[in-house]
Symmetry: C2
């Protein structure tokens, strides 16, 4: 028995649970079900590959992709928190750190340490890669909400200023994407999907 492989495979099977963590955003296709964090992670990782040229600074795109593949796995233990629920977001931090300890702790030690560091780098948003990854993670639900006629904003009675406050950090990762986000926000107000 290959004990490194067995540890890695145990985590891989555990990660399957991310497919059952539901987000507020809904898929665009006819059934409009809520998307889960696993398929969201695929979507945003592929988005990084497609939009690399719009990062403010040159980025190591393979690291950005790695961050985005890993960024939500802590939700297996901690659940997803709605980005406009600021109280819950504070409690969430501790839960996510404990989840990171448990999940990355399933791996061979040096591998777990390395991947946990990448996850933390994303969380702290202190590098060009993390800022770009965060920008993508913030803009993709806005784009999906827009294409779903404002669904999640309407369901939760969100106002323009909340969206601007929470998402303006997109600009730190990509000025181009922030410009696009503002266009989406303004059109959503015009259409009555966001409170002015």
């Amino acid at each position: 028995m290959n004990s490194r492989l067995e540890k890695q495979l145990a985590l891989i099977m555990e990660l399957d649970q991310l497919k059952s963590v539901l987000r507020r955003t809904r898929v665009l296709s006819a059934d409009k079900r809520r998307e889960n964090s696993a398929e969201h992670s695929w979507h945003v990782a592929l988005m990084a590959l497609l939009l690399e040229e719009h990062a403010n600074e040159p980025v190591d795109i393979s690291k950005v992709v790695k961050m985005l593949l890993l960024h939500d796995i802590v939700e297996i233990d901690a659940g997803d928190t709605f980005v406009y629920d600021t109280l819950a977001l504070q409690e969430q931090e501790e839960k996510e750190l404990a989840a990171a300890e448990r999940l990355f702790g399933m791996l061979p030690e040096e591998q777990g340490t390395e991947l946990k560091a990448i996850w933390l780098e994303f969380e702290r948003a202190g590098t060009a890669e993390a800022r770009f990854a965060k920008a993508l993670d913030r803009i993709i639900p806005m784009l999906m909400n827009y294409h779903n006629n404002g669904q999640s904003w309407l369901e939760h009675g969100v106002a323009k200023q909340q969206v601007v406050n929470i998402n303006q950090r997109i600009e730190q990762g990509s000025a181009v994407l922030w410009e696009k986000a503002l266009q989406v926000i303004n059109e959503a107000v015009e259409k009555g999907w966001l409170k002015p």
Copy 2:
């Protein structure tokens, strides 16, 4: 308006449809629903990052991840084909090529050409990266079936020899993973999940 960005975003929104393409494999959590190709793509791309050391040859892992993020997007037009349905697999090839033309054709030209080449490299399995990516894509449903008490094999009356024939190419990407696959297959026969 940034026309490159608009083309890229149009594809990104189109890709959302992969979340509605269902596979034969079921998730491991309680509801046992069929998984979709988007969440599968996330799972197998992350698996590549975790199992890089088990590739037969040194691989450019960021290319492997790119391949796996892209490998199923043609199913948006062509649908998923069960790996044990060999007749359908032949017809599938043409449909997938047309889908690749359409989807990658939505991008700025040089970007679409580059990504389509990576998708084709995966399909043709002629490089170390593609062989390792294929090995991962083949072993992950086996592992999930095994953890689901043989569900998909039992549902479709699959026999050991079919599983060996279809999956032995795992060995070309990773001898270590093929050894693991054989162990899983033999245990599945013992448990009555695969016909001997």
